[in-house]
Amino acid sequence: MTTTLAQLGTDAGLQQVAPLLFYAVALVTVLSAWAIVLSQNIVRMAVYLLLTLTGVAGMYFMLDAELLAAIQLIVYAGGTLILIVFGVMLTSGNPFLKLRPKLWEVFVAVGLSLFIMGLLLFAKVTTHLPEPSATIEEANKPAGYDLVHEIGRGLLSVYLVPFEVAAVLLLVVMIGAAYMARRRAT
């Protein structure tokens, strides 16, 4: 059958709490994501987004991607979310202003999102996933395997081109955003 987290992990103590931890984090993530849909207040949406992003960071922790979880918390929860909160403060005279969608728009949107979720579920059920193997993965990890070390090496060797493209993209975005958001002399 399919491999489980308990088979891939090595920490016996963590295996006992892993299901409970997973369901707690998954519940927080999914509920706060749908709370964003139901909320009409932009400030509350930002707070629910913070909960969702933290929950996704917890997911990364449980998938043994500690570096990704740290990046998610620092860049997303610490950077992008602050940017969004600043955007909310700068673009609304009244932060509790409500912009309500029409009822038929809500029905179309929720219907389409349920359709997309059903489509994804259908794709998952009908796709034959290759047999995962814990032994192969563990065999490739030499003693003293360090995830951060490996990703650092990878970014400057195998993934060098996308790394440089991302660097140029960030430069372009920084100049472009500063240019567009500047105060014009009128």
Partner: protein, 113 residues
Amino acid sequence: MNPVFDISLHHFLIVSFALAGAGVATILTKRNAIGILIGVELLLNAAGVNFIAFNKFLWHNTTSTSTGLDGMVFTIFIIVVAAAEAAVALAIFLNFYNNFSTVDVEKADELKG
């Protein structure tokens, strides 16, 4: 194997599907431009969870040069692009707010034919 207490790839995929559905619903229902941006962030997070889950459970070493980190590096770039996209989108919304004194996307119809 117990499908409830043995956490496998499927559990993570279902969380990611729920996130993607919430993202699409948020993009379609919000009239506040920043709300739409939040929906896009939800979709990008769903993609990130998918990448990390597949990297963890289904990765096979097929070539000698593969590092087994493809999913993680993809997710790092997703986060980079999401941060860049949020910065540019907010700069555009700020300009829009300066010109129209609102961030209601229904009012952004100047270029409509």
